[in-house]
């Protein structure tokens, strides 16, 4: 269903606000980052939360975001970052390279 990404690839977190249990924090949605690593494949928490098995397992990525991308008014250094674990179905290719 969703495509796979390589380390270093620029990705965008989908902008969506579904009801129910989700592990993608609101502050990262719609933001661009770089894939820092692939963490492995894990059962989908959005299914596990309702007593189901969450299969097929999803690839979990760690995505590194520049603080200035997350918060336009960020006052720290330009090199400051936040790493967030995000499941594959919440990621899409970033529009620009």
């Amino acid at each position: 269903m969703s495509r796979h990404f390589a380390v270093g690839e620029r990705v965008r977190v989908r902008q969506a606000s579904p009801p129910g249990h989700v592990r993608t924090p609101a502050y990262a949605r719609g933001k661009d980052g770089l894939v820092e690593r692939l963490c492995g494949r894990f059962a989908n928490p959005e299914e596990l939360a309702y007593g189901r098995l969450g299969l097929p397992a999803r690839t979990l990525y760690r995505v590194r975001f520049a603080q200035s991308e997350l918060w336009p008014d960020y006052r720290g250094h330009t090199s400051d970052t936040v790493d967030i674990e995000i499941y594959e179905h919440w990621l899409e290719p970033a529009i620009h390279a």
Binding site: H21, V22, A26, A49, G51
Partner: protein, 102 residues
């Protein structure tokens, strides 16, 4: 639209660095969750989902392990491990015994 447990980036005051030693009942709640997980009777994401369903007022007011307990009870009822009726009777029994002891 942001869920009330999804706190990243919200304005908030200073971090109060208080700590407390966990009470025995809190440790028991923690241990129950771990054991229910080991036995395949409950998933961490079910706990989270039930906590996220408590409502924002309860989420704000309750202590950490009160939230866990409320969520574990909810999931145990959902999964049919315990029933509402059993819980109600057992709680009444405990309160009665306690009142007699006073």
């Amino acid at each position: 639209m942001r869920a009330y447990h999804d706190l990243g980036g919200l304005p908030a005051g200073p971090v109060e660095r208080a700590e407390h030693d966990y009470a025995l009942w809190e440790k028991r709640v923690d241990a129950m969750l771990v054991l229910l997980g080991d036995k395949g009777l409950m998933r961490t994401d079910e706990l989270r989902r039930a906590i996220e369903g408590l409502g924002s007022a309860a989420y704000e007011r309750m202590s950490y392990y009160e939230r866990w307990l409320a969520a574990i009870v909810e999931i145990m009822i959902e999964r049919g491990v315990v029933t509402v009726d059993e819980l109600g009777r057992k709680m009444a029994e405990i309160e009665e015994r306690r009142d007699e002891a006073l």
